[in-house]
């Protein structure tokens, strides 16, 4: 008798709080952006309150108040000098505060290349020389406390990489590499989202960044660098057969097998990811089956065709196989 094999993913650890919390920083870079946002908001509110009172006085006040509000001194002082001083001050302070956000890489950072695709993220871990260590998709693993250099580009249209708890947004532009350095202060999963409209299911283009303690990170990297887990159960073995005969390998790579397609996400470790469909679904055998059979209903316009040719038994087998690729 078959036992439940899929026991992993729950929405809580898969989708890590949707939408991503924007004002809850988890690293030094996002902390500064959050400080700046609050300071600007407070200043703007204060000025608006003062202006609101002045406007009310000018409209409904008695004659002497109106006269004072219309005086030359007040107009030059509060209407010109005050904004110049305050805005210049804020500008200088803001630029100083955020200058470290665009600091140049030192060469000690961990290198991860993330390429925007319609509508998912291609992830490549690089060594310091730029050689490929591992490939993955839609999920990025980083160590806590160490700066990570994200080399961002795109294969089609402009996307924008945004993990609000860790850093600001940065565009991913075809034919060019934008560099973003970020650091996570504490372990955890951080939700991200494409922040530049890129057509069709742009709103369903999410990703997950997982920050690990250094020793856990090393284990994660080992897992990601290894070839795919070979199927052992009869249903998974059958699934591998269905995967091959259905031509899945034309678009997807499963490391260590003949499947070497590059058009779609790398599936070598698909079963180990927290989410499915680029950060939008919990990842388990059920959602895998639903995605394969009819991803167009779930994420309309995505580039994977519905596999309605698979029988129930084949669908079950192939989802069991993929679920086991951890």
């Amino acid at each position: 008798m078959l036992q439940p094999t899929s026991t992993r993913s729950s929405l809580a650890d898969a989708l890590v709080g949707w939408p991503p919390p924007v004002l809850d920083p988890a690293g030094p870079f996002s902390e500064r952006i959050t400080t700046l946002s609050w300071a600007l908001l407070v200043m703007a509110v204060l000025v608006m309150v003062v202006v609101g009172f002045a406007l009310a006085g000018a409209l409904f006040g008695n004659a002497s108040l109106k006269k004072r509000l219309g005086g030359r001194g007040l107009i030059w002082g509060a209407g010109f000098a005050f904004p110049v001083v305050v805005l210049s001050g804020l500008l200088v302070w803001g630029l100083t505060l955020t200058s470290s956000l665009s600091s140049r890489p030192t060469g000690d950072e961990l290198r991860i290349q993330v390429t925007g695709e319609m509508w998912w993220w291609r992830v490549t871990y690089l060594d310091s020389e730029g050689r490929v260590l591992a490939r993955d998709a839609n999920e990025v693993h980083i160590p806590v406390g160490r700066p990570v250099l994200f080399e961002l580009t795109s294969n089609d249209v402009i996307h924008s990489f945004w993990v609000p708890q860790l850093a600001g947004k940065l565009d991913m532009v075809p034919g060019r590499v934008n560099r973003l350095i970020l650091t996570a202060d504490r372990p955890g999963s951080y939700g991200g989202q494409c922040a530049e409209y890129c057509g069709g299911p742009h709103a369903l283009m999410g990703l997950v960044v997982v920050a690990h303690r250094p020793e856990d990170f090393d284990r994660e990297m080992e897992r990601l660098r290894a070839p795919a887990t070979a199927p052992v159960t009869p249903v998974a073995l059958r699934g591998a057969e269905v995967f091959e005969s259905s031509g899945c390998g034309a678009c997807h790579t499963v490391g260590g097998t003949e499947a070497n397609g590059l058009a779609g996400p790398d599936l070598t470790h698909v079963g180990g990811r927290r989410s499915l469909g680029a950060g939008i679904l919990p990842n388990n055998q059920g959602t895998l089956a639903g995605w394969i059979a009819d991803s167009q209903t779930i994420k309309p316009g995505n580039r994977m065709p519905p596999y309605s040719v698979l029988s129930g038994e084949e669908l079950m087998a192939v989802s069991a196989y993929l679920d086991g690729l951890e």
């Binding site: 008798m1 078959l2 036992q3 439940p4 094999t5 899929s6 026991t7 992993r8 993913s9 729950s10 929405l11 809580a12 499915l276 679904l281 919990p282 388990n284 055998q285 059920g286 959602t287 895998l288 089956a289 639903g290 995605w291 059979a293 009819d294 209903t297 779930i298 994420k299 029988s311 129930g312 038994e313 669908l315 079950m316 989802s319 069991a320 679920d323």
Partner: protein, 125 residues
């Protein structure tokens, strides 16, 4: 969105308590919590394949819609629709219905009971 979903589910739950006796007579689920069931349904992504009233997205079509599930005579067209069978089925469908495409789902026994309890709140309109 989540707030709206919660509000809708509360309305669903409130409206079911009005006809609670019928449901209890049809499918007694003393150990299951429909609210926890809806949470588990969201958390495991049942809606990737099923239209589940109370879940706005996605509205998958791979499996049958679960609208009005409480009044269905059969599960998966072959099993009797009673609480114990449903609890076992949502957790490990292939054990009961080997030809179905529905795979085992990552639910505990008590979560499966909650899911069944929620499904039994789904009366036909």
């Amino acid at each position: 969105m989540a707030m709206a979903g919660r509000a809708i589910s509360l309305v669903v739950l409130a409206s079911l308590s009005a006809c609670g006796t019928d449901v209890a007579e049809q499918h007694p689920m003393p150990a299951g919590s429909p609210e926890a069931g809806l949470e588990a349904i969201r958390a495991t992504g049942c809606a990737a394949c099923h239209v589940v009233p109370g879940v706005e997205w996605p509205m998958g079509r791979t499996g049958p819609s679960l609208e009005g599930f409480a009044a269905r005579p059969l599960i998966a067209g072959s099993l009797s629709n009673d609480p114990d069978t449903l609890t076992a089925f949502v957790r490990n469908a292939p054990a009961l219905s080997p030809d179905s495409a529905m795979p085992p789902m990552p639910l505990t026994e008590s979560q499966a009971r909650d899911v069944a309890a929620y499904l039994y709140t789904l009366q036909p309109r």
